[in-house]
């Protein structure tokens, strides 16, 4: 069968990834903010005569590259490795997205135009005359709504029909001013606006100097509350199911004649850690990602970056760092890769180093447990308290990111800063199907899969080394006391490096003196902690260490992969660790005086 290679290009946030996913049935990350696609993705689909390979390129405003992802696109177009280029445009803002198309049509002769978001344009009262556009540009054009199945079938037929045809090169003027005049002339012929556009009211509130921050805090609080509330029950059920299955597993292995050491390793080591991680981590992760994706698809993330950039500018930072921080709340690895959207290397490095300051999903359960035990207030349910503690933690994290960004850029990078341009996309009511597919299947499966692998390995290692840990705990006790905790906490964090989810179970295991980790209900956990000398001060120190310590191993690997720099890697380990230790020491000193 004949093979054809197609390059998908277009401005940021015009729905290239949605078109790509629809064509190939793949699950590339989509969302309502420019710059999600940070590297090229490749997918396939077949037609009766051809096998098509589609390359989804990062969004670019023009062929003059100024950032890493734009470079990927322009390099690829220069490489000549494709048969056809499809330029995806936005029907709601054709006057801007058409320019890139014309620039490409000026240089290449197998070009197709696809005008996406036709439904949204229609809702806004914008009519795009596809035939007229085709006539004016001399390029085959198809208008689609990428979320409609029928339109995707049309698109496939369109590619099959016109993909091979050569078009004449478009005659584009030299200067950018006259290029825009040409674009305007074409648009005046093809685009009809039947009514003036209305801007959304929500913007006014979200960026208000006083109401904005309160609204954002309430939003975080709401997400935390729903996450904690919704996760309680499924976590319990999963935990019980795993416990039952673990006992059956032990029974089967006994019947199979496996030696007791191996049974211990498999059941009490690997399986126990694995089941704990899954039952504690899985339900909140599903709920959090679901809520987060709704906000992301709706278009809230760039607004947060917009509001916070003023503060970042004061700290010599970059507003887009806020986008990476939001992603970091889900998973620091995702946040670290997201830092590619910043053009300047200094901004990128600072963004990566400070990303683990944002507590990822895996750290939520620790904060929730300790919060509900030690900060209980009469008359409030523990869920409300936990949500409140968690939200405060996130605020503390954000404040720390500002502080550290300032210190890093002043002391390490002489306060140099990069450029800031941020596109604020229109609010889009998310499609239920996109949310489910992208949130539940793509992100969760990959993060959970990794956690399962890491935690089973960690389980095996823990089972083997636990009997020898006692001396080390005593050895680390003085250091632990210095920062307001004890040796067991310090060692739990070190052993928890593979995945933050297992820090708490390791700690409880060390306190109990057993050789296997165990999940306890909240009452037992409280007794264990209090009998080991925990009070409010130690709880605060512990939470601070949870927020600020070295990133987990997977995040470190991602950092090294992204930057290829040992210096950044070392900084990402040292900066949060010393920040956390310093903060704990200060709190410890203060409590001594009080």
């Amino acid at each position: 069968m004949n093979k054809k290679r197609i390059a998908l290009v277009g401005n940021p946030n015009v729905g290239k990834s949605t078109v790509f996913n629809a064509l190939t049935g793949m699950r590339q990350h989509t969302g309502n903010w420019p710059g999600k696609t940070v590297a090229k993705a490749i997918g396939y689909f077949n037609s009766p005569t051809f096998e098509f390979e589609i390359v989804d390129l990062p969004g670019t405003y023009s062929l003059h590259s100024t950032s890493q992802e734009e470079e990927i696109t322009s390099d690829y177009l220069l490489s000549d490795e494709y048969d056809t280029i499809i330029v995806v445009m936005d029907a709601t803002s054709l006057s801007r997205t058409l320019l890139l198309g014309l620039q490409i049509a000026q240089k290449y002769n197998h070009v197709l135009f696809v005008v996406n978001l036709m439904d949204e344009a229609k809702k806004l009262g914008i009519e795009v005359n596809i035939h007229e556009l085709e006539k004016e540009c001399g390029i085959p054009v198809l208008g689609i709504t990428a979320t409609s199945k029928k339109d995707i079938i049309h698109l496939k037929q369109f590619i099959e029909m016109y993909g091979d045809k050569e078009n004449r090169l478009f005659n584009l003027k030299e200067s950018i001013e006259s290029q825009y005049t040409q674009v305007k002339t074409i648009c005046s012929l093809c685009v009809k606006e039947t009514r003036p556009r209305i801007r959304e009211k929500l913007d006014g509130w979200l960026v208000h100097p006083y109401i904005g921050p309160i609204l954002m805090f309430l939003m975080i609080l709401g997400i935390c509350y729903l996450t904690i509330r919704g996760a309680n029950f499924p976590s319990m059920v999963l935990g019980d199911l795993f416990a039952i299955f673990g006992e059956s597993l032990r029974g089967w292995l006994l019947l199979g004649g496996v030696s007791s050491w191996w049974i211990g390793l498999i059941v009490d080591g690997i399986f126990l850690v694995l089941s704990f991680v899954v039952s504690v981590m899985f339900p909140p992760m599903v709920i959090f990602f679901l809520l987060f994706t709704i906000l992301e698809e709706y278009g809230v993330l760039p607004r947060i970056a917009f509001c916070l950039d003023g503060y970042f500018e004061k700290c010599h930072g970059h507003g887009k760092q806020a986008l990476c921080m939001c992603m970091g709340l889900g998973c620091n690895c995702v946040g670290v890769s997201g830092c590619r959207i910043m053009e300047n290397d200094t901004d990128k490095t600072i963004g990566i180093v400070t990303n683990s300051f944002m507590p990822c999903n895996g750290r939520f359960p620790m904060i929730i447990t300790v919060g509900s035990i030690f900060f209980a207030i009469q008359g409030f349910s523990s869920t409300v308290i936990s949500a409140f503690v968690l939200s405060l933690c996130i605020c503390l994290s954000v404040a720390s990111v500002f502080l550290v960004t300032y210190l890093l850029s002043v002391f390490l990078y002489n306060g140099k800063r990069g450029s800031f341009i941020l596109e604020l996309p229109p609010y889009r009511v998310p499609h239920f199907r996109t949310i489910l597919s992208h949130s539940l299947f793509h992100k969760i499966i990959s993060i959970l899969g990794r956690a399962v692998v890491v935690s089973s390995l960690a389980g095996a290692v823990l089972y083997i080394i636990t009997p020898y840990l006692k001396e080390y705990i005593q050895f680390l006790d003085p250091f632990g006391w210095m920062i307001g905790v004890d040796g067991a906490v310090v060692i739990s964090f070190i052993l928890g490096a593979p995945a933050n989810e297992i820090v708490m179970p390791i700690l409880l295991m060390l306190y109990k003196g057993t050789s296997t980790i165990a999940s306890f209900d909240i009452q037992t956990t409280r007794e264990i902690l209090i009998s080991n000398g925990w009070g409010i001060q130690r709880a605060i120190s512990f939470i601070i260490l949870v927020l600020f310590h070295f990133p987990c191993i997977t995040t470190l690997l991602t950092i090294y992969k992204e930057t290829n720099s040992k210096k950044t890697l070392v900084l990402s380990i040292l900066v949060p660790t010393f920040y956390g230790i310093g903060l704990c020491m200060i709190i410890n000193c203060l409590t001594l005086f009080i």
Binding site: Y61, E177, F306, D309, Y311, E423
Partner: protein, 75 residues
């Protein structure tokens, strides 16, 4: 013709782009449609008065007021 800077616009103001002073963002802003004669509307101001969001070519983009001070406009 009343000549001003982009950074002097208030939310709701409408104006036309005149020219951009040479700076590191010039090419980027031109790509986004900030070329002579294009209509620009100031749509949003962030809590610290920087960045400010403008609507140009049916798209809303935010830039810092420091950079906006390099863009000349007329009404």
């Amino acid at each position: 013709m009343n000549s001003k800077l982009l950074s002097e616009m208030r939310v709701g103001d409408r104006a036309y782009i005149d020219y951009i002073e040479p700076m590191y963002l010039k090419r980027r802003l031109q790509d986004l449609g900030m070329v002579h004669g294009n209509l620009i509307v100031c749509v949003l101001c962030s809590p610290l008065k920087t960045p400010i969001a403008y609507q140009i070519q049916d798209t809303v983009i935010a830039i810092r007021s420091e950079d906006a001070a390099k863009v000349h406009i007329y009404e």
